[in-house]
Amino acid sequence: MSDASPILAARTLHKTYRLGRVGVPVLRGVDLDVQRGEWLAVLGASGSGKSTLLHLLGGLDRPDSPAQASRVCRRCGHPRKHSPGTRTSCPECGEPHHTITPPQIIYEGRDLSTMSAAQLNHYRSRDIGFVFQFYHLLPELNIVENITIGSMVLHGRFGYMAHRREARARAEALLDAFGLSHRLRHRPRELSGGERQRVAIARALINEPRILLADEPTGNLDRKTGHAILDSIEQLQKSQGLTMIMVTHDPVIAERADRVVRLLDGRVVDHLPEPAET
């Protein structure tokens, strides 16, 4: 792929959650291009579908197919009783029904929907790094194990035996970069919130992914710690040429990104101008 083409692109992403018979359309046709090495912030209110978008881009979830999307009204979520084509508008809100084009999430020119389950697992493991708001560390494992487990998942039992030293060295280097080299044997509960998030970032980076997907990474931290975390991420992103998509509801945090998009009513509705380089 040429450097000019986006590393990750989303086309007409729809996602509806079901609450009994009623559907709740969260995404209503998201289109998005993410360039290589770009830090993209997705700004949106709580419940706007930011995390859902991140899960779809990361291959954790699948977007609605046209058939799934046609089962409910895309505006109000009211179920469609008749087969598509028999009625042209929703009896609840009057929104005209229309069929959607098949969704696409294209990573390096390859559509995720064409990948097998094993390929999708490999994509999540090798090319994507997830960072969550609530850290999501495994409480029974110590810090080093929490980081190297990503490598274990990628390489499997025998592969990991060959990569063990390498993975451990990288884990220690990441922890050293985050100032946690003295905490290798500690359990997550023995760390502060900021330290836990650094460990979570280190885990996301253990397999040297191309894209980091961060879901409100500072949402659970105080402002000072949050900014310190963002400083660390920014440094890594710049030094390693990492592509990063960060969702947040905080415009101040979003301003630090190379580019900001806003998620409103399930669509990417506007693009804010790029913040000036400092």
Partner: protein, 516 residues
């Protein structure tokens, strides 16, 4: 790889898996202890059932067959045969000292040869003991030297083996009843017997204490029906025999119903001993009396000899010879024997040759049913174990829902997640079952001291020797049984973990990550 790490950590940092491991260990140990004790009990019962029978019996009931010495000689020349002994089996009545009549099974035996075939000497109860029996902690056994003169008991033992007793008038044929036949021996809580002590008030107002110890001065009147050589009832004969000793085979039915009599005495009573065959003289036949010189009627003439008969020949095989193979050997030997005595003994086609298993068919069938029952209970416990593990794992999967979401986000596939929990079940099953087997081994090997300790401290005696016929709780563990239980323990854990594993594998990773 991550499955192994997480299994290790879950196992050592959480109480719930440890609880499930303990549950598996205890249920495995319980099943194995029960199976070992029940299996030991049944095995002892089977082995006791073999006592007094030998491995194979050649039988021609009621009338019996002659030339048995020749048959025994032919049998003992076979490499498969260790020894053979003649016996007579019949039924009769005994009159006890208190004038009670009792129907019994009577066996005429030749003590030494019977011992070689059946180990009869080991079943004689009254014999000198150096050490008390396992439950006789207070040395109450009358056979111990502090209670009874060992020389006297040695004489009683020898009397029992030879089935004779000498009351000062020379040795005479005697009987050896089972220890429960007379009802004059009381089984004690420590598993032994004490002869009845009768106390009667006398005319002087004192108490007359009488120890009724049958082998010292007791006797039994034996009544049975003699048969002629054609199997027709001849006479009812009663004869009183001194009691030489008493035997304990380990089978209550045998010990309460069988009376052993010296073979020659029984042959004589049943008209089965060696006898002259006579023919009455003609009504006009006379001879000259050598003393008076007068013509007198001629006496009956001896025209032949009827050899002694027995109803059975018991055969013991050499070590390692299967009873079916031994029966086949006996069949072929008997065939040659019958040809040699054609017309005088039952032919080979009609003679009854049974192995000890066939003779004990009822007992063995009951034993097999008991084993089946144990295995059925074992199956139910295993099934319960599946649900126990399933519920614990279900709960653990629920608790670890978020971990599953995290692992899926890190790239773990559904198969990897399923294997994580299945492997966890396998580890818990393997460790728990192995510990259970070890615990069972410790308990089974020390079950008697443990049982005695419980009895001493709480007064609860589960295996009461006065109720059960075996003094000690069986304490041998079968390793093949242990392997089966271990395998079943592991299997139940894996089956129990399977449904939660599938649930974990099918979990929506996004919902799992949002799990609170």
């Amino acid at each position: 790889m991550y499955q192994s790490l997480l299994n290790r950590r879950y196992l050592t940092s959480k109480i719930m898996p440890l609880l499930s491991l303990v549950a598996v260990m205890l249920s495995t140990a319980t099943i194995l202890v029960t199976w070992s004790v029940m299996g030991g009990f049944l095995k002892t019962l089977m082995e006791s059932g073999r006592t007094l029978i030998g491995d194979v019996a050649i039988t021609w009931p009621n009338v019996g067959f002659a030339y048995y010495e020749d048959l025994i000689e032919r049998l003992e020349q076979q490499p498969d045969v260790e020894a053979a002994a003649p016996i007579i089996e019949t039924f009769g009545m005994i009159r006890l000292p208190d004038d009670q009549l009792q129907a019994v099974s009577i066996r005429g035996v030749d003590g030494p040869s019977f011992d070689r075939v059946t180990g009869y000497a080991e079943t004689l109860y009254w014999r000198p003991l150096d050490q008390p029996t396992p439950k006789d902690f207070d040395r109450q056994d009358l056979r111990l030297p502090e209670h009874t003169d060992p020389d006297f008991l040695a004489r009683v033992e020898k009397n029992g083996l030879m089935l004779t007793r000498d009351d000062g008038l020379g040795p005479e044929p005697a009987v050896v009843p089972g220890i429960e036949v007379t009802g004059l021996n009381h089984r004690q809580s420590w598993g032994g017997y004490v002869p009845l002590t009768a106390m009667r008030p006398t005319s002087t107002g004192s108490i007359d204490v009488e120890n009724i110890f049958m082998p010292r001065n007791g006797s039994l009147a034996l009544t049975l029906l003699a048969l002629d050589s054609n199997g027709r009832f001849a006479d009812a004969i009663t004869r009183t025999f001194p009691v030489a000793n008493e035997f304990q085979s380990g089978i209550y039915d045998a010990d309460s119903q069988i009376v052993l009599v010296r073979l020659d005495a029984l042959q004589s009573m049943l008209n089965m001993d060696r006898a002259e065959r006579i023919e009455p003289a003609g009504p006009f036949d006379t001879i000259v009396d050598p003393e008076t010189g007068e013509q007198i009627p001629a006496p009956p003439r001896v025209i032949g000899i009827d050899p002694a008969r027995v109803t059975n020949v018991l055969v013991r095989g050499r070590e390692g010879v299967e009873s079916d193979a031994l029966a086949a050997t006996c069949q072929s030997v008997y065939q040659r024997f019958a040809e040699a005595h054609r017309g005088e003994v039952p032919d080979a086609f009609n003679i009854v040759i049974n192995t000890w298993q066939e003779k004990n068919r009822t007992l063995i069938s009951a034993v097999k049913k008991e084993t089946g029952l144990v295995l059925f209970i074992f199956g139910i416990v295993c099934f319960t174990n599946v649900f126990l593990v399933l519920s614990i794992f279900w709960s653990m999967v629920s608790e670890k829902t978020r971990d599953i979401g995290i692992l899926r986000a890190l790239g773990a596939g559904w198969a990897g997640i399923a294997w994580l929990w299945l492997r966890y079940g396998l580890v818990i099953g393997t460790v728990g079952s192995t510990l259970g087997v070890l615990l069972a081994w410790v308990i089974v090997h020390n079950i008697n001291p443990i049982h005695d300790w419980i009895g001493r401290t709480t007064g609860i005696v589960i295996w009461d020797p006065s109720v059960y016929y075996f003094i000690e709780v069986p304490n041998e563990m079968s390793w093949p049984h242990a392997a089966v239980v271990l395998l079943a323990g592991v299997l139940t854990c894996v089956i129990g973990a399977a449904i939660p594993s599938v649930r974990a594998a099918r979990m929506d990773p996004v919902k799992a990550l949002r799990f609170e």
